[in-house]
Amino acid sequence: YYDKLIFEISKEGRVGYTLPKPDFGKYSVNDLPEGLLRQDTPDLPEVSELDVVRHYTNVSNKNFGVETGFYPLGSCTMKYNPKINEEIAALPAFSALHPMQPAETAQGALKVYYELARSLAEISGLAEFTLNPFAGAHGELTGLMLMRQYHIKRGDMNRTRVIVPNSAHGTNPASAAVCGLEIVEVESTPEGTIDVEKLKPLLDETIAGIMMTNPNTLGIFEKEILEIASLVHACGGLLYYDGANLNPLLGVCRPGDMGFDIMHINLHKTFSTPHGGGGPGSGPVGVAAALTEFLPNPRVKKVEDRYVVETGDDAIGSVSGFFGNFAVMMRAYTYILSLGKENIRHVGSLATLNANYVKESLKQDYYLPIEGVCKHEFVFDGLADKSTGVTTLDVAKRLLDYGYHAPTIYFPLLFHQSIMIEPTETESKETLDEFIGVMKTVAREARENPDIVKSAPHSTPVRRLDETTAAKKPILRFKDL
């Protein structure tokens, strides 16, 4: 077990770099006024190149990734991240471009931006996209800004409340708050979908809109979406679609066709770009025709056969320094071109097939609170056998011992022991069968040998952590260790 920090292998005088020798004569940074100069030297590591390479190789081996094994993490769409995407994104003809170089010297890159935006518009049934937002939550924030801007520009200043289902992703209310919106929760039916009757009384002239995802966080399709849309629109509000759950809809239906006005897409979910341990992602935002003038700056447009960069006066402003996470877009567009229209149409159904297969295979062993066909993911409420004292956390940790990443746990909050599973379409029946087998084994262990589950994991690089002390006495840097 490799347990060193890079600082712990540092030694004075060692170097890991080469730099060009300056060739400019007399200049020295010490000619700057003394008062502008740093007084001490930052304590950065001093290591050789091999030290660095071996260190981070060994550090990487303490991680689990999609290429290590199955990652059934609900709501995260951990599908395969194709290698060709990486190759294309690394092309120096794109990666060496300066964001301020004139459009006429970056036509290839601007075309990628433009064509990807057009492709997303086609897939989502919306009019136009900005690719500038950096992540899903950032897309949400941008989308809500667009929602507010729409009302503001119409002089409809009192619409500062946004409806969010109580099953919503945690970021939804946070995004609304950051955008200066007040949250109104709408309750779910016992089937987990929005209760239309409870929605109706909430709809008034203070409502900016509603944030939804469909299928919702339980993996259930909101069948009454058209009625919801017409109700919200009738009251003057807009519909925001949280694209975190877009994957099952590919080839099946389009948010725009359901009446959604604004949506974000997580390129790192539906469009196969890697999650990178938490980022960089990319959260393009699409809007219906009535909102296109509000999209953030800069924007990429096509004028005849050329691509240009524009700014719009009615734009919400800017949400990013430049064009967003461009290299992530390169990957997503590679994915779309690789699949093409004839394969993209299968993504949704196959993701749904995999989810239902796992659900049906495990519902004797784990408690399924909502019956019926799910979409790309579903939720168990812990073990079916409630007598064992084994919690969802225990099950999750035990799965690590068997070489799986754990599903999402304790979300959605609707159930106490939520286990949310999303297999994605890139996993084979064999992988699912093995996972199902292990889930059943864990359920049996919970009955027969609960201690081994409760004290799991046993074979991971480290075991359960003391999170309380970490939060009580935070140590956030090497110096404080």
Binding site: T68, I183, G278, P280, G340, K341, G348, R477
Partner: protein
């Protein structure tokens, strides 16, 4: 089937059987017919891998590879080969946010190292796991100040802050209801008197300045923190972290929050992204810090280990009152920074600045020698500087582009009205020969 779909016909049949439905289509039976998408997508047909390569190679040929003398927020520093090769290890690349720390120590450890390194550079005690980019990190810093101030929600921003940062800050502020007031600049630097006047109303939560500023000037912020703190506001400094191996740190200037873009720590230009924001603060303000934070702890066997910590802050427990909705970081780019700083170390990062300084000052002197250029403002700079010229700026810019050179950037693109100025940047990658060629092209016009 397709290479990314492992389903054989037999698989599908068997799986549908277990589910108890007749066809793939039946899996979507509950979806109202009115919203079913029964058409073909208006998208290209599938390209095989060699066709994809061919396509992007062709597109790449429509971009021009330029020798970069431009900065303005994106800097052409050296990006070590080690970094890109290590971050492509799938254990880093294809992992999710480290929710399961037992199998995510790789991610957690490097974030801890990242936080430690940013702390060293900024002088701050507390640093988070990274932000999207410099501009959004600055906007988040603004929210921290407002949250800290409770009732006051005005924030001052110096006019010498990079306009790209300014735009994002203003957008965020507008929708959250934060009032922005701009501090006047005087001869290219933030006007202390203007700031003091704005502060005197007593309604200011925070003040945002930058180092180096949008002209490349290394401003002297003496007296700033005292004035800001006297007004019970926080001082936020957006600083280029690469320069902090030689320049006075935000901590040394008395800032409460340091933020900025880590792109200068060896990241490719990437046409603007992904880059990585950083956000660091004092011990006192730790619990105001948004985003992910990694802390050290031990496991049940007493082994040192790392974990996401301080998650119980407002965006989680009081999410409807959240000051930030950020729920991920720019993790892989933080790894980029971490490996870069490990390679460069104490000595290398200083050398980067030494060489950039020398190159920039050499270029500046050569330009001035032509008799057609002078510095816009007479203040010290490091690697970037703005010059006025008697030559036609647009013609010059175009001529350099035609010769494969990007920059200086016409200053009017950043500061409308500055029609006769160019912003040049010289990093350690620019050779004497490249600079001499630039100068001789300019001399042809002079």
């Amino acid at each position: 089937m397709f290479k990314y779909f492992p389903h054989t016909g037999a698989d599908i049949k068997e799986m549908l059987g277990r589910i108890g439905v007749g066809s793939l289509d039946d899996l979507n039976a509950e979806i109202p017919a009115e919203v079913r998408f029964n058409k073909e997508y208006n998208l290209p047909v599938s390209m095989s891998e060699s066709e994809v390569r061919e396509y992007f190679t062709r597109l790449g040929n429509e971009n021009r590879s330029l020798t970069v003398f431009a900065g303005a927020g994106s800097y052409d520093h050296y990006a070590p080969s080690v970094v890109s090769q290590l971050i492509s290890r799938s254990e880093f690349l294809t992992a999710y946010t480290p929710y399961q720390p037992e199998i995510s120590q790789g991610t957690l450890q490097y974030i801890f190292e990242f936080q430690s390194m940013i702390s060293e550079l900024t002088g701050m005690e507390s640093c988070n796991a990274s932000m999207y980019d410099g501009p959004t990190a600055t906007a988040e810093a603004m929210f921290m100040a407002v949250s800290n101030a409770k009732k006051r929600n005005k924030v001052l921003v110096s006019k010498t802050v990079n306009p790209n940062v300014m735009r994002v800050v203003k957008t965020y502020a507008f929708f959250k209801g934060v009032e922005i007031a701009e501090i006047e600049e005087k001869e290219g630097v933030t006007d202390l008197a203007s700031m003091k006047e704005l502060l005197s109303a007593g309604d200011v939560a925070g003040v945002i300045v930058s180092s180096p500023n949008c002209y490349g000037i290394v401003e002297d912020y003496s007296g700033f923190s005292e004035a800001v703190h006297d007004a019970k506001a926080l001082l936020i400094m957006n600083a280029d972290p690469s320069t902090l191996s030689v320049l006075k740190t935000p901590k040394e200037w008395g800032a409460d929050i340091a933020c900025g873009d880590g792109q200068t720590l060896g990241m490719p230009l990437n046409f603007g992204g992904p880059y990585v924001g950083y956000l660091a603060t004092t011990k006192e303000l730790l619990r105001k810090l948004p985003g992910r934070i990694v802390g050290a702890t031990t496991d049940v066997d007493g082994k040192r280990a790392f974990v996401l910590t301080l998650q119980a802050r407002e965006q989680h427990i009081r999410r409807q009152k959240a000051n930030s909705n950020i729920c991920s970081n720019q993790s892989l780019m933080a790894l980029y920074v971490t490996i870069y700083l490990a390679l460069m170390g104490k000595k290398g990062l200083r050398e980067v600045n030494e060489t950039s300084y020398a190159g920039a000052h050499y270029l500046c002197d050569e330009l001035i020698k032509t008799g057609k250029f002078s510095l816009c403002f007479n203040h010290p700079f490091l690697k970037e500087f703005a010059v006025k010229t008697t030559l036609n700026v647009d013609k010059l810019y175009k001529k350099l582009l035609d010769n494969g050179i990007l920059g200086g950037i016409p200053m009017k693109q950043l500061k409308p009205g500055m029609d006769n100025a160019l912003l040049f940047c010289v990093t350690e990658k620019r050779t004497r020969a490249e600079i001499d060629r630039l100068v001789s092209l300019i001399k042809e016009e002079a």
